[in-house]
Symmetry: C2
Subunit: 319 residues, 2 copies
Protein backbone atom coordinates (compact mmCIF):
# COMPACT_ATOMS: atom_id res chain seq x y z
CA UNK A 1 0.00 0.00 0.00
CA UNK A 2 2.60 2.52 1.10
CA UNK A 3 4.75 2.00 -2.00
CA UNK A 4 1.73 2.35 -4.25
CA UNK A 5 0.86 5.68 -2.72
CA UNK A 6 4.45 6.84 -2.74
CA UNK A 7 4.66 6.07 -6.45
CA UNK A 8 1.40 7.95 -7.01
CA UNK A 9 2.75 10.93 -5.10
CA UNK A 10 5.89 11.05 -7.25
CA UNK A 11 3.70 10.86 -10.34
CA UNK A 12 1.52 13.64 -8.93
CA UNK A 13 4.60 15.76 -8.27
CA UNK A 14 5.65 15.50 -11.91
CA UNK A 15 2.17 16.27 -13.19
CA UNK A 16 1.28 19.24 -11.02
CA UNK A 17 4.57 20.98 -10.19
CA UNK A 18 4.27 23.68 -12.83
CA UNK A 19 0.67 24.40 -11.81
CA UNK A 20 1.07 24.84 -8.07
CA UNK A 21 3.18 26.85 -5.65
CA UNK A 22 5.92 25.42 -3.51
CA UNK A 23 4.62 27.14 -0.41
CA UNK A 24 6.99 28.53 2.19
CA UNK A 25 7.80 26.71 5.42
CA UNK A 26 7.93 29.59 7.86
CA UNK A 27 9.82 29.20 11.13
CA UNK A 28 7.90 31.06 13.82
CA UNK A 29 10.08 32.46 16.57
CA UNK A 30 7.15 33.79 18.63
CA UNK A 31 5.16 30.54 18.49
CA UNK A 32 8.33 28.59 19.25
CA UNK A 33 8.95 30.70 22.34
CA UNK A 34 5.31 30.41 23.43
CA UNK A 35 5.39 26.61 23.26
CA UNK A 36 9.04 25.75 23.89
CA UNK A 37 9.09 23.82 20.63
CA UNK A 38 10.43 24.68 17.17
CA UNK A 39 7.38 25.63 15.17
CA UNK A 40 7.37 25.58 11.38
CA UNK A 41 4.28 26.70 9.48
CA UNK A 42 3.64 25.09 6.11
CA UNK A 43 1.78 27.89 4.39
CA UNK A 44 -0.80 26.23 2.16
CA UNK A 45 -2.92 29.24 3.03
CA UNK A 46 -0.72 30.93 0.42
CA UNK A 47 -1.33 28.23 -2.19
CA UNK A 48 -3.32 29.18 -5.30
CA UNK A 49 -7.04 29.55 -4.43
CA UNK A 50 -6.02 29.81 -0.76
CA UNK A 51 -5.84 26.11 0.08
CA UNK A 52 -3.92 22.87 -0.57
CA UNK A 53 -6.92 21.55 -2.52
CA UNK A 54 -5.49 22.64 -5.88
CA UNK A 55 -2.84 19.93 -5.53
CA UNK A 56 -5.35 17.11 -5.57
CA UNK A 57 -7.60 18.80 -8.10
CA UNK A 58 -4.80 19.37 -10.59
CA UNK A 59 -3.50 15.85 -10.15
CA UNK A 60 -6.93 14.46 -10.88
CA UNK A 61 -7.50 16.68 -13.91
CA UNK A 62 -4.04 16.02 -15.32
CA UNK A 63 -4.31 12.26 -14.89
CA UNK A 64 -7.41 12.02 -17.10
CA UNK A 65 -7.08 10.43 -20.53
CA UNK A 66 -7.45 12.84 -23.44
CA UNK A 67 -10.96 11.47 -24.06
CA UNK A 68 -11.94 12.00 -20.45
CA UNK A 69 -10.44 15.45 -20.50
CA UNK A 70 -12.44 16.40 -23.56
CA UNK A 71 -15.64 15.23 -21.89
CA UNK A 72 -14.85 17.30 -18.82
CA UNK A 73 -15.41 17.01 -15.10
CA UNK A 74 -18.14 17.60 -12.57
CA UNK A 75 -17.99 18.34 -8.88
CA UNK A 76 -20.28 19.58 -6.14
CA UNK A 77 -18.77 21.95 -3.59
CA UNK A 78 -18.91 25.59 -2.52
CA UNK A 79 -15.77 25.13 -0.47
CA UNK A 80 -12.04 24.93 -1.13
CA UNK A 81 -12.42 21.83 -3.31
CA UNK A 82 -14.96 23.58 -5.51
CA UNK A 83 -12.66 26.59 -5.92
CA UNK A 84 -9.71 24.30 -6.66
CA UNK A 85 -11.56 22.36 -9.36
CA UNK A 86 -12.88 25.62 -10.82
CA UNK A 87 -9.34 27.01 -10.93
CA UNK A 88 -8.04 23.81 -12.54
CA UNK A 89 -10.72 23.80 -15.23
CA UNK A 90 -9.99 27.45 -15.96
CA UNK A 91 -6.23 27.02 -16.12
CA UNK A 92 -6.33 23.82 -18.18
CA UNK A 93 -9.02 25.25 -20.48
CA UNK A 94 -11.16 22.15 -20.20
CA UNK A 95 -14.91 21.73 -19.79
CA UNK A 96 -16.35 21.27 -16.34
CA UNK A 97 -19.21 22.21 -14.06
CA UNK A 98 -19.34 22.99 -10.38
CA UNK A 99 -22.77 22.29 -8.88
CA UNK A 100 -23.89 24.22 -5.82
CA UNK A 101 -27.14 24.15 -3.84
CA UNK A 102 -29.77 26.72 -4.76
CA UNK A 103 -29.37 28.44 -1.38
CA UNK A 104 -25.56 28.61 -1.44
CA UNK A 105 -24.25 31.86 0.04
CA UNK A 106 -23.18 34.61 -2.33
CA UNK A 107 -19.71 34.82 -0.77
CA UNK A 108 -18.99 31.19 -1.49
CA UNK A 109 -20.46 31.27 -4.96
CA UNK A 110 -18.44 34.41 -5.74
CA UNK A 111 -15.29 32.57 -4.73
CA UNK A 112 -15.97 29.95 -7.39
CA UNK A 113 -17.05 32.57 -9.94
CA UNK A 114 -13.68 34.24 -9.38
CA UNK A 115 -12.14 31.39 -11.31
CA UNK A 116 -14.52 31.77 -14.23
CA UNK A 117 -15.99 28.30 -13.67
CA UNK A 118 -19.29 27.17 -15.09
CA UNK A 119 -21.56 27.15 -12.09
CA UNK A 120 -24.97 25.50 -11.87
CA UNK A 121 -27.46 25.70 -9.04
CA UNK A 122 -29.35 22.55 -8.16
CA UNK A 123 -31.14 21.15 -5.16
CA UNK A 124 -32.38 22.36 -1.80
CA UNK A 125 -29.58 20.71 0.20
CA UNK A 126 -26.17 19.14 -0.26
CA UNK A 127 -27.38 15.57 -0.65
CA UNK A 128 -29.62 16.62 -3.54
CA UNK A 129 -26.83 18.65 -5.13
CA UNK A 130 -24.25 15.88 -4.83
CA UNK A 131 -26.61 13.19 -6.08
CA UNK A 132 -27.52 15.35 -9.03
CA UNK A 133 -23.85 16.05 -9.80
CA UNK A 134 -23.03 12.33 -9.69
CA UNK A 135 -25.97 11.51 -11.99
CA UNK A 136 -25.12 14.36 -14.29
CA UNK A 137 -21.56 13.07 -14.59
CA UNK A 138 -22.78 9.56 -15.47
CA UNK A 139 -25.35 10.76 -17.99
CA UNK A 140 -22.91 13.02 -19.75
CA UNK A 141 -20.00 10.61 -19.58
CA UNK A 142 -18.05 13.09 -17.45
CA UNK A 143 -15.70 12.41 -14.55
CA UNK A 144 -16.88 13.22 -11.03
CA UNK A 145 -14.07 14.70 -8.93
CA UNK A 146 -14.39 13.64 -5.30
CA UNK A 147 -12.90 15.94 -2.64
CA UNK A 148 -11.01 13.10 -0.93
CA UNK A 149 -12.20 9.63 -1.91
CA UNK A 150 -9.85 9.28 -4.88
CA UNK A 151 -6.27 8.05 -4.98
CA UNK A 152 -5.25 10.76 -7.44
CA UNK A 153 -6.63 13.45 -5.17
CA UNK A 154 -4.88 11.96 -2.12
CA UNK A 155 -1.60 11.67 -4.04
CA UNK A 156 -1.89 15.31 -5.07
CA UNK A 157 -2.29 16.41 -1.46
CA UNK A 158 0.67 14.18 -0.57
CA UNK A 159 3.00 16.47 -2.52
CA UNK A 160 2.88 18.76 0.53
CA UNK A 161 5.01 16.14 2.32
CA UNK A 162 7.44 15.96 -0.57
CA UNK A 163 8.07 19.68 -0.19
CA UNK A 164 8.38 19.38 3.59
CA UNK A 165 11.14 16.78 3.33
CA UNK A 166 13.07 19.14 1.06
CA UNK A 167 12.50 22.13 3.33
CA UNK A 168 13.32 20.73 6.78
CA UNK A 169 15.77 18.05 7.76
CA UNK A 170 14.52 16.54 10.98
CA UNK A 171 10.77 16.67 11.32
CA UNK A 172 9.60 15.20 14.62
CA UNK A 173 5.89 15.93 14.39
CA UNK A 174 3.44 17.04 11.70
CA UNK A 175 0.03 18.37 12.73
CA UNK A 176 -2.56 18.02 9.98
CA UNK A 177 -6.24 19.09 9.93
CA UNK A 178 -8.52 16.14 9.14
CA UNK A 179 -11.96 16.12 7.53
CA UNK A 180 -12.45 13.49 4.83
CA UNK A 181 -8.79 12.69 5.35
CA UNK A 182 -7.36 13.32 1.90
CA UNK A 183 -4.61 15.64 3.11
CA UNK A 184 -3.51 13.61 6.13
CA UNK A 185 -3.63 10.36 4.14
CA UNK A 186 -1.31 11.73 1.46
CA UNK A 187 1.08 13.30 3.96
CA UNK A 188 1.19 10.34 6.34
CA UNK A 189 1.64 7.73 3.62
CA UNK A 190 4.57 9.63 2.15
CA UNK A 191 6.28 10.57 5.41
CA UNK A 192 6.03 7.06 6.84
CA UNK A 193 7.88 5.73 3.81
CA UNK A 194 10.77 8.22 3.90
CA UNK A 195 10.89 9.32 7.55
CA UNK A 196 9.21 6.63 9.65
CA UNK A 197 10.11 8.30 12.95
CA UNK A 198 8.12 11.41 12.10
CA UNK A 199 4.86 11.42 14.04
CA UNK A 200 1.85 12.36 11.95
CA UNK A 201 -1.04 13.60 14.06
CA UNK A 202 -4.54 14.26 12.79
CA UNK A 203 -6.25 17.36 14.22
CA UNK A 204 -10.02 17.65 14.43
CA UNK A 205 -12.68 19.88 15.94
CA UNK A 206 -14.49 18.29 18.90
CA UNK A 207 -17.68 19.29 17.12
CA UNK A 208 -16.95 17.10 14.11
CA UNK A 209 -14.39 14.40 14.98
CA UNK A 210 -15.63 11.84 12.46
CA UNK A 211 -12.33 10.32 11.31
CA UNK A 212 -10.98 10.07 14.88
CA UNK A 213 -14.19 8.39 16.04
CA UNK A 214 -14.16 6.09 13.02
CA UNK A 215 -10.61 4.97 13.72
CA UNK A 216 -11.58 4.32 17.34
CA UNK A 217 -14.59 2.28 16.21
CA UNK A 218 -12.60 0.40 13.58
CA UNK A 219 -15.00 1.45 10.83
CA UNK A 220 -16.38 4.61 9.27
CA UNK A 221 -19.07 5.84 11.62
CA UNK A 222 -22.14 7.81 10.70
CA UNK A 223 -22.50 10.29 13.54
CA UNK A 224 -24.18 13.55 14.39
CA UNK A 225 -21.84 16.51 14.10
CA UNK A 226 -22.15 20.07 15.30
CA UNK A 227 -21.34 23.25 13.41
CA UNK A 228 -17.69 24.25 13.65
CA UNK A 229 -15.44 27.14 12.68
CA UNK A 230 -13.50 24.48 10.82
CA UNK A 231 -16.05 24.29 8.00
CA UNK A 232 -13.46 22.78 5.65
CA UNK A 233 -13.19 19.64 7.81
CA UNK A 234 -16.82 19.44 8.91
CA UNK A 235 -19.30 16.69 8.17
CA UNK A 236 -19.42 12.96 7.58
CA UNK A 237 -17.15 10.60 5.67
CA UNK A 238 -18.43 8.73 2.62
CA UNK A 239 -19.02 5.01 3.19
CA UNK A 240 -16.11 3.02 1.79
CA UNK A 241 -13.78 6.05 1.61
CA UNK A 242 -10.23 4.89 0.90
CA UNK A 243 -8.82 7.52 3.24
CA UNK A 244 -10.02 5.48 6.23
CA UNK A 245 -7.65 2.55 5.64
CA UNK A 246 -4.74 4.86 4.90
CA UNK A 247 -5.32 6.83 8.09
CA UNK A 248 -5.67 3.60 10.08
CA UNK A 249 -2.30 2.43 8.81
CA UNK A 250 -0.24 5.62 8.89
CA UNK A 251 -1.65 8.28 11.21
CA UNK A 252 -0.10 7.99 14.69
CA UNK A 253 -2.59 9.85 16.79
CA UNK A 254 -5.46 12.35 16.90
CA UNK A 255 -6.00 15.56 18.84
CA UNK A 256 -9.42 17.18 19.26
CA UNK A 257 -9.92 20.87 20.00
CA UNK A 258 -12.82 23.07 21.05
CA UNK A 259 -14.32 25.98 19.14
CA UNK A 260 -12.79 28.43 21.63
CA UNK A 261 -9.37 26.85 21.09
CA UNK A 262 -9.78 27.23 17.32
CA UNK A 263 -10.67 30.91 17.78
CA UNK A 264 -7.65 31.50 19.99
CA UNK A 265 -5.42 29.80 17.43
CA UNK A 266 -6.65 31.99 14.56
CA UNK A 267 -6.02 35.05 16.72
CA UNK A 268 -2.55 33.80 17.68
CA UNK A 269 -1.62 33.49 13.98
CA UNK A 270 -2.95 36.98 13.24
CA UNK A 271 -1.00 38.43 16.16
CA UNK A 272 2.30 36.61 15.67
CA UNK A 273 2.42 36.03 11.91
CA UNK A 274 -0.03 38.59 10.52
CA UNK A 275 -1.53 35.85 8.38
CA UNK A 276 -5.17 34.97 7.88
CA UNK A 277 -6.05 31.31 8.29
CA UNK A 278 -9.34 29.52 8.11
CA UNK A 279 -10.84 27.39 10.88
CA UNK A 280 -9.35 24.09 9.66
CA UNK A 281 -5.82 25.50 9.84
CA UNK A 282 -6.73 26.92 13.24
CA UNK A 283 -7.51 23.36 14.38
CA UNK A 284 -3.91 22.31 13.70
CA UNK A 285 -2.47 25.38 15.43
CA UNK A 286 -4.80 24.83 18.41
CA UNK A 287 -3.62 21.24 18.64
CA UNK A 288 -0.09 22.47 19.27
CA UNK A 289 -1.07 25.23 21.70
CA UNK A 290 -3.16 22.76 23.69
CA UNK A 291 -0.56 20.00 23.79
CA UNK A 292 2.70 21.94 23.75
CA UNK A 293 4.06 19.97 26.72
CA UNK A 294 3.93 16.80 24.66
CA UNK A 295 6.22 18.31 22.01
CA UNK A 296 8.93 20.09 24.06
CA UNK A 297 12.04 20.89 22.02
CA UNK A 298 10.72 19.02 19.03
CA UNK A 299 10.55 20.25 15.45
CA UNK A 300 6.83 20.60 14.89
CA UNK A 301 5.37 21.31 11.45
CA UNK A 302 1.84 22.72 11.36
CA UNK A 303 -0.03 22.46 8.09
CA UNK A 304 -1.84 25.76 7.58
CA UNK A 305 -4.28 24.12 5.21
CA UNK A 306 -6.11 27.20 4.03
CA UNK A 307 -6.77 30.93 4.27
CA UNK A 308 -10.40 31.08 3.20
CA UNK A 309 -12.12 32.62 6.16
CA UNK A 310 -15.03 34.92 5.36
CA UNK A 311 -15.07 38.50 6.59
CA UNK A 312 -18.13 37.70 8.71
CA UNK A 313 -16.42 34.76 10.42
CA UNK A 314 -13.27 36.80 10.94
CA UNK A 315 -15.33 39.49 12.64
CA UNK A 316 -16.86 36.94 15.00
CA UNK A 317 -13.49 35.36 15.78
CA UNK A 318 -11.70 38.58 16.72
CA UNK A 319 -14.69 40.35 18.27
CA UNK B 1 22.54 59.35 -10.55
CA UNK B 2 20.43 56.56 -12.02
CA UNK B 3 23.44 54.45 -12.89
CA UNK B 4 24.90 54.90 -9.43
CA UNK B 5 21.72 53.67 -7.80
CA UNK B 6 21.36 50.84 -10.27
CA UNK B 7 24.89 49.70 -9.42
CA UNK B 8 24.07 49.94 -5.72
CA UNK B 9 20.93 47.88 -6.24
CA UNK B 10 22.88 45.12 -8.02
CA UNK B 11 25.39 45.15 -5.17
CA UNK B 12 22.52 44.97 -2.67
CA UNK B 13 21.01 42.03 -4.55
CA UNK B 14 24.26 40.10 -4.22
CA UNK B 15 24.63 40.94 -0.54
CA UNK B 16 21.13 40.23 0.69
CA UNK B 17 19.73 37.52 -1.60
CA UNK B 18 20.40 34.62 0.77
CA UNK B 19 18.88 36.53 3.69
CA UNK B 20 15.57 37.59 2.18
CA UNK B 21 12.62 36.02 0.44
CA UNK B 22 11.84 36.43 -3.22
CA UNK B 23 8.21 37.25 -2.53
CA UNK B 24 5.48 36.06 -4.84
CA UNK B 25 3.86 38.29 -7.45
CA UNK B 26 0.25 37.19 -7.20
CA UNK B 27 -2.10 37.83 -10.12
CA UNK B 28 -5.49 38.71 -8.70
CA UNK B 29 -8.38 37.67 -10.92
CA UNK B 30 -11.05 39.23 -8.66
CA UNK B 31 -9.30 42.60 -8.35
CA UNK B 32 -8.60 42.57 -12.09
CA UNK B 33 -12.28 42.03 -12.81
CA UNK B 34 -13.30 44.72 -10.32
CA UNK B 35 -11.05 47.32 -11.95
CA UNK B 36 -10.83 46.17 -15.56
CA UNK B 37 -7.04 46.12 -15.26
CA UNK B 38 -4.55 43.29 -14.75
CA UNK B 39 -3.65 43.44 -11.08
CA UNK B 40 -0.47 41.88 -9.73
CA UNK B 41 0.23 41.99 -6.01
CA UNK B 42 3.88 42.06 -4.94
CA UNK B 43 3.60 40.36 -1.59
CA UNK B 44 6.18 42.02 0.64
CA UNK B 45 3.63 41.42 3.37
CA UNK B 46 5.02 37.88 3.23
CA UNK B 47 8.64 39.04 3.52
CA UNK B 48 10.55 38.13 6.70
CA UNK B 49 9.32 40.31 9.61
CA UNK B 50 6.22 41.11 7.55
CA UNK B 51 7.59 44.01 5.52
CA UNK B 52 10.07 44.99 2.78
CA UNK B 53 12.20 46.76 5.40
CA UNK B 54 14.49 43.74 5.88
CA UNK B 55 15.89 44.36 2.39
CA UNK B 56 17.30 47.76 3.29
CA UNK B 57 18.28 46.72 6.80
CA UNK B 58 20.26 43.70 5.61
CA UNK B 59 21.94 45.68 2.88
CA UNK B 60 23.06 48.29 5.39
CA UNK B 61 24.30 45.72 7.91
CA UNK B 62 26.09 43.65 5.27
CA UNK B 63 27.79 46.67 3.73
CA UNK B 64 29.52 47.64 6.98
CA UNK B 65 33.28 47.15 7.27
CA UNK B 66 34.31 44.39 9.65
CA UNK B 67 35.33 47.05 12.20
CA UNK B 68 31.97 48.76 11.94
CA UNK B 69 30.21 45.45 12.18
CA UNK B 70 32.08 44.57 15.37
CA UNK B 71 31.10 47.90 16.91
CA UNK B 72 27.46 47.28 16.03
CA UNK B 73 24.48 49.38 15.03
CA UNK B 74 21.85 51.55 16.62
CA UNK B 75 18.39 52.50 15.46
CA UNK B 76 15.25 54.05 16.91
CA UNK B 77 11.94 52.60 15.75
CA UNK B 78 9.05 50.54 17.04
CA UNK B 79 7.83 49.99 13.52
CA UNK B 80 8.78 47.80 10.58
CA UNK B 81 12.26 49.29 10.34
CA UNK B 82 12.93 48.50 14.00
CA UNK B 83 11.79 44.90 13.52
CA UNK B 84 13.88 44.58 10.37
CA UNK B 85 17.06 45.86 12.05
CA UNK B 86 16.36 43.63 15.07
CA UNK B 87 15.96 40.63 12.77
CA UNK B 88 19.16 41.50 10.90
CA UNK B 89 21.18 41.86 14.10
CA UNK B 90 19.83 38.54 15.32
CA UNK B 91 20.49 36.69 12.08
CA UNK B 92 23.96 38.14 11.55
CA UNK B 93 24.87 37.65 15.22
CA UNK B 94 26.19 41.17 15.56
CA UNK B 95 25.81 43.73 18.33
CA UNK B 96 23.07 46.31 18.07
CA UNK B 97 20.47 48.21 20.01
CA UNK B 98 16.97 49.29 19.12
CA UNK B 99 15.84 52.34 21.12
CA UNK B 100 12.15 52.87 21.76
CA UNK B 101 10.29 55.59 23.70
CA UNK B 102 9.41 54.83 27.31
CA UNK B 103 5.70 54.82 26.48
CA UNK B 104 5.95 52.53 23.41
CA UNK B 105 3.02 50.12 23.19
CA UNK B 106 3.55 46.55 24.35
CA UNK B 107 2.41 45.12 21.00
CA UNK B 108 5.07 47.02 19.11
CA UNK B 109 7.80 46.31 21.64
CA UNK B 110 6.86 42.61 21.59
CA UNK B 111 7.28 42.59 17.84
CA UNK B 112 10.90 43.72 18.24
CA UNK B 113 11.46 41.36 21.19
CA UNK B 114 10.34 38.53 18.90
CA UNK B 115 13.63 38.89 17.11
CA UNK B 116 15.66 38.70 20.29
CA UNK B 117 16.99 42.22 19.81
CA UNK B 118 18.55 44.26 22.58
CA UNK B 119 15.90 46.83 23.37
CA UNK B 120 16.37 50.01 25.39
CA UNK B 121 13.71 52.45 26.51
CA UNK B 122 14.60 56.14 26.40
CA UNK B 123 12.71 59.40 26.21
CA UNK B 124 9.19 60.63 26.51
CA UNK B 125 8.66 61.12 22.77
CA UNK B 126 10.19 60.15 19.44
CA UNK B 127 12.35 63.21 19.06
CA UNK B 128 14.00 62.46 22.41
CA UNK B 129 14.43 58.80 21.56
CA UNK B 130 15.90 59.46 18.13
CA UNK B 131 18.23 62.18 19.36
CA UNK B 132 19.42 59.88 22.12
CA UNK B 133 19.97 57.01 19.66
CA UNK B 134 22.00 59.26 17.35
CA UNK B 135 24.11 60.51 20.26
CA UNK B 136 24.54 57.02 21.62
CA UNK B 137 25.77 55.83 18.23
CA UNK B 138 28.33 58.66 18.05
CA UNK B 139 29.55 58.18 21.61
CA UNK B 140 29.96 54.43 21.18
CA UNK B 141 31.36 54.59 17.68
CA UNK B 142 28.40 52.64 16.37
CA UNK B 143 26.55 53.06 13.08
CA UNK B 144 23.10 54.64 13.14
CA UNK B 145 20.76 52.91 10.69
CA UNK B 146 18.31 55.39 9.18
CA UNK B 147 14.95 54.04 7.97
CA UNK B 148 15.24 55.76 4.57
CA UNK B 149 17.89 58.49 4.44
CA UNK B 150 20.72 56.16 3.41
CA UNK B 151 21.76 55.01 -0.06
CA UNK B 152 22.37 51.45 1.16
CA UNK B 153 18.90 51.26 2.64
CA UNK B 154 17.33 52.66 -0.55
CA UNK B 155 19.31 50.23 -2.70
CA UNK B 156 18.14 47.33 -0.53
CA UNK B 157 14.52 48.32 -1.03
CA UNK B 158 15.22 48.64 -4.76
CA UNK B 159 15.75 44.87 -5.00
CA UNK B 160 11.95 44.61 -5.01
CA UNK B 161 12.07 46.06 -8.55
CA UNK B 162 14.75 43.60 -9.59
CA UNK B 163 12.41 40.76 -8.65
CA UNK B 164 9.48 42.41 -10.41
CA UNK B 165 11.33 42.63 -13.71
CA UNK B 166 12.05 38.89 -13.48
CA UNK B 167 8.47 38.06 -12.55
CA UNK B 168 6.46 40.06 -15.08
CA UNK B 169 7.32 41.04 -18.61
CA UNK B 170 5.39 44.17 -19.40
CA UNK B 171 4.76 46.32 -16.35
CA UNK B 172 2.74 49.42 -17.21
CA UNK B 173 2.25 50.86 -13.74
CA UNK B 174 3.69 50.29 -10.26
CA UNK B 175 1.84 51.67 -7.24
CA UNK B 176 4.12 52.19 -4.23
CA UNK B 177 3.29 53.45 -0.73
CA UNK B 178 5.42 56.49 0.19
CA UNK B 179 6.50 57.70 3.61
CA UNK B 180 10.14 58.71 3.85
CA UNK B 181 10.43 57.49 0.29
CA UNK B 182 13.07 54.76 0.61
CA UNK B 183 10.97 52.10 -1.10
CA UNK B 184 9.68 54.22 -3.96
CA UNK B 185 13.12 55.76 -4.54
CA UNK B 186 14.75 52.35 -4.91
CA UNK B 187 11.98 50.96 -7.11
CA UNK B 188 11.66 54.04 -9.34
CA UNK B 189 15.39 54.49 -9.85
CA UNK B 190 15.78 50.88 -10.94
CA UNK B 191 12.69 50.65 -13.13
CA UNK B 192 13.42 53.90 -14.95
CA UNK B 193 16.80 52.51 -15.94
CA UNK B 194 15.56 49.17 -17.30
CA UNK B 195 11.95 49.87 -18.24
CA UNK B 196 11.57 53.63 -18.78
CA UNK B 197 7.97 53.34 -19.99
CA UNK B 198 6.81 51.87 -16.70
CA UNK B 199 4.96 54.50 -14.70
CA UNK B 200 5.94 54.62 -11.03
CA UNK B 201 3.28 56.23 -8.88
CA UNK B 202 3.72 57.15 -5.24
CA UNK B 203 0.69 56.51 -3.00
CA UNK B 204 0.08 58.49 0.18
CA UNK B 205 -2.61 59.02 2.79
CA UNK B 206 -4.32 62.42 2.52
CA UNK B 207 -3.64 62.72 6.24
CA UNK B 208 0.13 62.60 5.79
CA UNK B 209 1.09 63.48 2.20
CA UNK B 210 4.49 64.92 3.03
CA UNK B 211 6.53 63.67 0.05
CA UNK B 212 3.81 64.61 -2.46
CA UNK B 213 3.54 68.10 -0.95
CA UNK B 214 7.32 68.44 -0.86
CA UNK B 215 7.64 67.57 -4.54
CA UNK B 216 4.92 70.10 -5.32
CA UNK B 217 6.75 72.74 -3.28
CA UNK B 218 10.12 71.87 -4.80
CA UNK B 219 11.63 71.27 -1.37
CA UNK B 220 11.09 69.13 1.69
CA UNK B 221 8.25 70.76 3.60
CA UNK B 222 7.69 70.67 7.32
CA UNK B 223 3.94 70.30 7.67
CA UNK B 224 1.30 69.27 10.16
CA UNK B 225 0.10 65.73 9.59
CA UNK B 226 -2.90 63.88 10.95
CA UNK B 227 -3.04 60.35 12.31
CA UNK B 228 -3.50 57.71 9.62
CA UNK B 229 -4.13 53.99 9.36
CA UNK B 230 -0.97 54.01 7.29
CA UNK B 231 1.29 54.35 10.33
CA UNK B 232 4.25 53.00 8.37
CA UNK B 233 4.23 56.01 6.03
CA UNK B 234 3.15 58.64 8.56
CA UNK B 235 5.12 61.67 9.70
CA UNK B 236 7.63 64.13 8.39
CA UNK B 237 10.70 63.77 6.22
CA UNK B 238 14.17 64.51 7.58
CA UNK B 239 15.71 67.73 6.27
CA UNK B 240 18.16 66.92 3.49
CA UNK B 241 16.83 63.40 2.93
CA UNK B 242 18.34 61.96 -0.26
CA UNK B 243 15.04 60.30 -1.15
CA UNK B 244 13.60 63.70 -2.10
CA UNK B 245 15.88 64.22 -5.10
CA UNK B 246 15.45 60.64 -6.27
CA UNK B 247 11.66 60.91 -6.09
CA UNK B 248 11.77 64.24 -7.90
CA UNK B 249 13.73 62.68 -10.74
CA UNK B 250 12.05 59.28 -11.12
CA UNK B 251 8.55 59.17 -9.63
CA UNK B 252 5.94 59.98 -12.29
CA UNK B 253 2.97 60.94 -10.18
CA UNK B 254 1.30 60.80 -6.79
CA UNK B 255 -2.13 59.63 -5.64
CA UNK B 256 -3.62 60.56 -2.27
CA UNK B 257 -6.33 58.52 -0.55
CA UNK B 258 -8.62 59.01 2.41
CA UNK B 259 -8.76 56.94 5.60
CA UNK B 260 -12.06 55.41 4.48
CA UNK B 261 -10.49 54.40 1.17
CA UNK B 262 -7.59 52.76 3.04
CA UNK B 263 -10.08 50.82 5.18
CA UNK B 264 -12.01 49.66 2.14
CA UNK B 265 -8.80 48.55 0.49
CA UNK B 266 -7.71 46.45 3.48
CA UNK B 267 -11.16 44.84 3.48
CA UNK B 268 -11.00 44.21 -0.27
CA UNK B 269 -7.70 42.34 0.16
CA UNK B 270 -9.11 40.27 3.02
CA UNK B 271 -12.19 39.39 0.97
CA UNK B 272 -10.54 38.64 -2.36
CA UNK B 273 -7.07 37.40 -1.35
CA UNK B 274 -7.52 36.34 2.28
CA UNK B 275 -4.36 38.22 3.12
CA UNK B 276 -3.72 40.65 5.94
CA UNK B 277 -2.11 43.92 4.95
CA UNK B 278 -1.21 46.96 6.98
CA UNK B 279 -2.44 50.48 6.30
CA UNK B 280 0.51 51.49 4.10
CA UNK B 281 -0.15 48.59 1.72
CA UNK B 282 -3.82 49.54 1.84
CA UNK B 283 -2.86 53.00 0.55
CA UNK B 284 -1.44 51.46 -2.63
CA UNK B 285 -4.47 49.21 -3.13
CA UNK B 286 -6.80 52.15 -2.51
CA UNK B 287 -4.93 54.18 -5.12
CA UNK B 288 -5.86 51.60 -7.74
CA UNK B 289 -9.47 51.22 -6.63
CA UNK B 290 -9.92 55.00 -6.66
CA UNK B 291 -8.28 55.56 -10.04
CA UNK B 292 -9.07 52.36 -11.90
CA UNK B 293 -10.33 54.26 -14.95
CA UNK B 294 -6.90 55.72 -15.45
CA UNK B 295 -5.37 52.24 -15.75
CA UNK B 296 -7.84 50.33 -17.97
CA UNK B 297 -6.36 47.16 -19.47
CA UNK B 298 -2.93 47.95 -18.09
CA UNK B 299 -0.67 45.65 -16.12
CA UNK B 300 -0.67 47.22 -12.69
CA UNK B 301 1.67 46.06 -9.93
CA UNK B 302 0.69 46.98 -6.38
CA UNK B 303 3.42 46.81 -3.75
CA UNK B 304 1.87 45.24 -0.66
CA UNK B 305 4.56 46.75 1.51
CA UNK B 306 3.70 45.07 4.79
CA UNK B 307 1.38 42.88 6.85
CA UNK B 308 1.92 44.34 10.29
CA UNK B 309 -1.52 45.45 11.32
CA UNK B 310 -2.36 45.09 14.99
CA UNK B 311 -5.35 43.07 16.13
CA UNK B 312 -6.89 46.25 17.55
CA UNK B 313 -6.56 48.13 14.27
CA UNK B 314 -7.87 45.15 12.33
CA UNK B 315 -10.94 45.10 14.58
CA UNK B 316 -11.59 48.77 13.90
CA UNK B 317 -11.12 48.37 10.16
CA UNK B 318 -13.53 45.48 9.71
CA UNK B 319 -16.04 46.54 12.38
Amino acid sequence: MVLDIQREIFAAENRIRSHIRETILDFSLPLSKMTNTNVYLKCENLQYTGSFKVRGAFNKLLSLTSDERQQGVVTASTGNHGAAVAFGIYKLKMPGIVFVPENASTTKVDNIRNYNAKLEFFGADWLQTETHALNYAKQHNMIYVSPYNDLNVIAGQGTVALELIKQLNAIDVVLVPVGGGGLVAGIAAYLKSVSPKTQVIGCLPQNSPVMAESIKAGKIVDMETLPTLSDATAGGIEAGAITFDICKEFVDDYILVSEQEIKNAIIAIIKTQHLLIEGAAGVAVASLLKNAKQFQNKNVVIILSGANISLETLKQVIA
